[in-house]
Amino acid sequence: MDSLSSLLDGFGTALSPVNLLWAAVGVLLGTAIGVLPGIGPAMAVALLLPVTYGLDPTAAFIMFAGIYYGGMFGGSTTSILLNTPGETAAVVAAMEGHPMARSGRGAQALAAAAIGHFAGGMIGTCLLVFLAPTVADLAVDIGAPDYFAIMVLAFIAVTSVLGSSRVRGFASLLIGLTIGLVGLDQMTGQQRLTFGSLELADGIDVVIVAVGLFAIGEALWVALHLRRRPDEPIPVGRPWLGKAELRRTWKPWLRGPAIGFPFGAIPAGGAEIPTFLSYVTEKRLSKHRDEFGKGAIEGVAGPESAASASAAGTLVSMLTLGLPTTAVAAVMLAAFQQYGIQPGPLLFEREPDLVWGLIASLFIAMAMLLVLNLPLAPVWAKLLRIPRPYLYAGILFFAAIGAYAVGGEPLDLVILLIIGLLGLLMRRYGLPVLPAVIGVILGPAAEQQLRRALQISDGSVSGLVNTPFAVTVYVVIALILCWPLAKRLVPRGRAKAS
């Protein structure tokens, strides 16, 4: 009941004209960015980080959340009409959605996806309303050792669960941690990796790292391998669903969140795994199994619903524990840091207006997105025709503004380019970008918590594992680390048995 009344207060915040305006800006930008090839929601939020210098936090996060959810809606439009998904969350949408579009049922595919996102987002956000305060209550008296354990979990999960190669994930994480070390040590003022430079003594701003890796790195990487003739999107009419299709889609819409939400909340790579799981589930449960691969509408409805629900799950762990499980959440965490707000269990006590305003605005954003995407999908699809030179020149242009806005230093632009070239190199050699960003954002905080915990325990390492919470987290970390070993051992054991 308590969370319901808080939510009502939140609606009071979110329904103020200014915040409604920012929600609208967020969902418009988010949909456009989701549709546009080459820009993902993480890059978009990174490019918009400079607004945190001028905007109040509630408005900024309402806008960022709109971009996150809008990116999901728009991303499925691209993958259905173009078959080359940019966001990992939309890969599955292309598997059934694109064949549907090719056989003239694009309108139904778009509708199944949009309503799926709406259903998944709504159910996921309801779960967020009821679960987040409970998690926050459970975690409310966690201390330095627990925070450190959570951050180690984030590091391990993001390198081990994501991507195909662990060693490359760790390489990326270590690059991020190194960038995070540059500057004055927070506890003692000792200069680290500054080489006597005054500019570097302040450290490399997270905004510059995020924009460099996500925006410049991506733009340069695309420039290196730019497709000279972009694929032509399939023309499509206004999305709609007939009765027969509704009968086939309502169950997948409702099943999606059951898979998406929990996977979003744990650090397992965001929407990628749950959308695939949902796809497999729908395929197994469908009466039209033979249609899968040729355009089965269940294969669009379920995974898209799971994708949006996973975004809500991501917000649970981000808001209650300060644990980012996706790239967007990581960049949003950087925005929290810009405001000097520490997401975590105390956030619900200290910043109730911000948190509940943000959560309430999610419901509003979802309604806006449904209205924007159902009737207007053909208009959004026109964005796919944007000349690529303008698109990527625009990304470089706005990245330059963002980096310059950090401190008004031309040197920051040079650092930005260097980090961008690093991002290009990482994409070329299959080093995932997300671990590096998480390393930069959480590295300094993790070090501080570690040293604080050891200070309390007077240097004894047992001070890191003296709470049940921390022990639980380390057990989870051990499980994640041992998982591939177990996978390798199990089939061998079976083979021996047979």
Binding site: T178, D185, L226, A393, L396, I401, P410, L411, L417
Partner: protein, 183 residues
């Protein structure tokens, strides 16, 4: 006899040199290992030369974490090298506008980097409206756009408009340069 011997060695070194080149081809990822190794050495050197006596507070000083990170970088560099030598390969990232079958177009990347650096140099003397327009036009040109009457126009409008939105509406100060002083 000795002459013969040196000849033979020269022959083999040449052969191995050719062999090394052939060996390195397709294994450019070893460059990443070298980079990680270099960063690791850098971090460790910085940490070990740190003068921490005056600043130590608590049992863990400012050196501990850099030392851990530096050692881990060295370990990962070696592990990655082993993986590459065993035939492991980092999977290049795909995307909507990315055609991985085409060879890398490094000229475009160089041009873009140059244009971007030019903006960093020009932003203060010329002001953002001009340097930003040059950045957009130059980038579009580098990426293959050749509409010589449309591109500069779009660049100028975009740059001026953004300048006013950021500088005046969002209160993010950008240098106006001589152009804005005239206006």
């Amino acid at each position: 006899m000795t002459d013969h011997h040196t000849d033979a060695t020269a022959g083999t070194t040449e052969a191995t040199r050719g062999g090394i080149r052939a060996f390195l081809r397709g294994r450019s990822e070893l460059g990443v290992c070298a980079l990680l190794l270099a960063i690791g050495v850098l971090v460790l050197t910085d940490a070990l030369t740190m003068d921490t006596d005056f600043a130590q507070r608590g049992p863990v000083g400012p050196r501990t974490v850099p030392i851990v990170v530096g050692v881990a970088l060295l370990v990962v560099a070696v592990l990655l090298a082993v993986d590459v030598l065993r035939g492991g390969k980092g999977e290049a990232e795909g995307g909507e506008d990315i055609d991985l079958s085409a060879p890398g177009d490094w000229r475009t990347v160089l041009l873009l980097s140059g244009v971007f650096l030019a903006n960093a140099i020009l932003i203060e003397p010329l002001g953002f409206p001009i340097s930003g327009a040059l950045l957009f036009w130059g980038s579009a040109y580098a990426l293959g756009s050749r509409a010589f009457h449309r591109d500069p126009l779009i660049a100028a409008v975009l740059s001026t408009l953004t300048f006013f939105v950021f500088d005046r509406l969002l209160a993010v100060p950008l240098p106006g340069g001589p152009l804005m002083e005239v206006l």
